[in-house]
């Protein structure tokens, strides 16, 4: 005979009665979380509505055309070249910022004398507080004159590299100079994210490596860098988001072009944000709508980048590393 209890052997539903403060906290947390999403969605929707005229006028050409002439009798404009230069500038900025930020973060967490760590950390954080206009002016007035000889030199020595070959010897207002300036603005953000993750490296693992006779550098390579990989990727993505959206510094430095060419040292570049900043004031209704559409594209791009960043950082907290 089967004992009667067996028939009742189903998983039991556990009832929880949350306390009042629990409920309030939950409500608040969910509420604010949802609010962010709602705001984000509303911004997207608003951009979409305002860019409708432009998208209707240009259709898919808006993404595939390089030219930007919305004021002609037959208006024609697209953001392919502008997006291209936006990404190129961001890429140059990151190519400089990522290694420098990793080195900075390592110095701040592992190498700097303890008394120096805190003041240096604040100093790097302070760099993020400098207005981008200042970076832009510095880039234009100081960096550019000093970069031109370097750009000239590198393009003559390495002219077999398509990115460094120029059609005419004019090196001011280039994507390279803009990229260098943007990299300086990205470094503090990257550094602080990477530094946070590095500083969470388990002491036990660091000591394990050192106790086996590792030098400081070998310990960093075997323990700190693998542990911080998620932070490096996340910090870089965050920096990428910042670099893609940087406006005024880029607007000050570049001279806008609407063609796609490989050379980054030659005069001329562009970016979505600087295009909007430079054109918005004088624009008629159609161009305005076109600029909003360009903004929408940038919004989408940074959203994707930041989502990937958040995902990567969240997944790698365990320290077990990420498989990307």
């Amino acid at each position: 005979m089967v004992p009667s209890q067996v028939t009742t052997d189903v998983p039991r539903t556990l009832l929880r009665t949350p306390t009042r403060s629990d409920r309030i906290y939950r409500g608040l947390a969910i509420g604010t979380g949802l609010l962010t999403l709602v705001i984000l969605a509303l911004i997207g929707l608003n951009l979409l509505l305002q860019s409708r005229t432009a998208i209707q006028s240009q259709g898919l050409r808006f993404l595939t055309s390089n030219a930007w002439s919305p004021q002609q009798a037959e208006p024609s404009f697209g953001i392919k070249a502008v997006l291209y230069w936006t990404i190129i500038i961001a890429f140059i900025a990151l190519a400089i910022a990522i290694p420098v930020s990793i080195a900075c973060a390592l110095y701040l967490t592992e190498l700097a004398p303890r008394q120096l760590q805190k003041p240096l950390r604040s100093l790097v954080d302070l760099l993020a507080a400098i207005p981008s206009l200042i970076y832009g002016m510095w880039g234009l007035l100081y960096l550019q004159p000093h970069m031109i000889p370097f750009a000239t030199w590198i393009s003559t020595k390495l002219d077999f590299v398509p990115f460094l070959r120029v059609s005419r010897p004019s090196f001011s207002s280039s994507a390279l100079i803009a990229g260098v300036v943007v990299s300086l603005m990205v470094i503090p953000i990257c550094t602080s994210v990477i530094r946070e993750v590095f500083s969470q490296t388990p002491q036990g693992e660091k000591e394990a490596a050192l106790a086996m006779g590792a030098t400081r550098w070998e310990m960093i390579r075997t323990v700190v860098l693998p542990f911080g990989r998620g932070g490096i990727i996340g910090g870089s993505m965050l920096g990428l988001g910042r670099a893609l959206g940087e406006t005024i510094a880029v607007a000050l430095i570049i001279s806008p072009i609407f063609v796609i060419r490989p050379s980054v040292v030659e005069t001329g570049a562009n970016s979505v944000a600087s295009l909007i900043a430079l054109r918005f004031g004088e624009a008629d209704a159609l161009q305005r709508s076109g600029l909003v559409a360009a903004g929408l594209a940038l919004f989408g791009l940074t959203l994707v980048v930041n989502t990937i960043a958040a995902f990567v950082v969240a997944r790698s907290r365990s320290g077990a590393g990420v498989d990307i």
Binding site: A208, M212, T222
Partner: protein, 270 residues
């Protein structure tokens, strides 16, 4: 009998792995935590360090392989001789000393992102040593740490996926893979279940033929089971720690000279 430095070093001068602390004192900032510690740890045997918490056993152990100096505010005086050479001499590199004097920590600390196989070989990799037969090194080391049978079919799984006891034995295997002269163990079994503890004790028993072992333990039975020499550390309130009595384990437990030792090993304080 007290094990004197001269007595034993003369007899065993040819063997490698004799460790001797001479007049070691240690500070963290202004806080002196060890005072004038003299201890000879003969090769091919196990020395146990016992004493209440906070009396400086871990600090002393970390001085023996130059881990102490990694704490920014840490200082020390005195000498530590490995085979009669001061490991703190100007011409001796800390990394070299640490490679010869391995350490197993209280909390198991395998590299979680590395596989079991890579964990065992990590010490060789870190010191830039290449071996012709890595597979063999892995098997021998894991066997010595009595972990081989449990992991031989999953050497590719991550070291962090093992149980606490297995992780600790993996750490022992990792330390043994570099063939150190001395192995320092800081309460290696305090986080382990009885079975893993017994395994680790067996391992200690097996490896002492080749490696000088110094072990900190709070477990008096363990000290008696695994060690041949024993040193009893003590620190009065806010005073630096020192060695009350050191000698053969049988004497410390069976015939202690100092009343405080007697009280401690019989569980009357600490």
């Amino acid at each position: 009998m007290t094990v004197t430095a001269e007595g034993v070093t003369n007899v065993e001068a040819t063997k490698s792995g004799a460790l001797e602390a001479r007049a070691v004192s240690a500070w963290f900032g202004n806080h002196k935590v060890l005072e004038n510690v003299n201890l000879f740890m003969p090769p091919q045997s196990v020395t146990a360090l016992i004493g209440p918490s906070g009396c400086g056993k871990s600090t002393f152990l970390r001085i023996l392989n130059r881990m102490h100096e990694l704490v920014p505010i840490a200082q020390l005086s005195g000498e530590v001789l490995l085979d009669n050479e001061d490991i703190y001499a100007a011409n001796v590199r800390a990394t070299h000393t640490r490679a010869r004097i391995g350490m197993v920590f209280q909390k198991p600390n395998p590299f979680p992102a590395m596989t079991i196989y890579e964990n065992v070989l990590s010490g060789l990799k870190l010191t830039g040593t290449t071996v012709p037969n890595p597979d063999e090194v892995v098997e021998t080391s894991l066997r010595q740490a009595s972990l081989w049978n449990e992991v031989k079919d999953r050497l590719d799984s991550p070291g962090g996926a093992l149980s606490g006891g297995q992780q600790q034995r993996l750490c022992i295997a990792r330390s043994l893979a570099v063939q150190p002269d001395v192995l320092l163990m800081d309460e290696p079994c305090s986080a382990l279940d009885p079975t893993s503890t017994r395994r680790v004790e067996e391992t200690i028993h097996d490896i002492k033929q080749r490696v000088t072992v110094v072990i900190v333990t709070h477990n008096m039975q363990q000290a008696q089971r695994v060690s041949q020499q024993c040193a009893f550390f003590l620190a009065e309130e806010n005073q630096p720690g020192y060695i009350v009595e050191a000698g053969l384990t049988t004497d410390i437990f069976g015939n202690p000279k100092d009343d405080r030792t007697n009280d401690y090993v019989n569980g009357r304080f600490g």
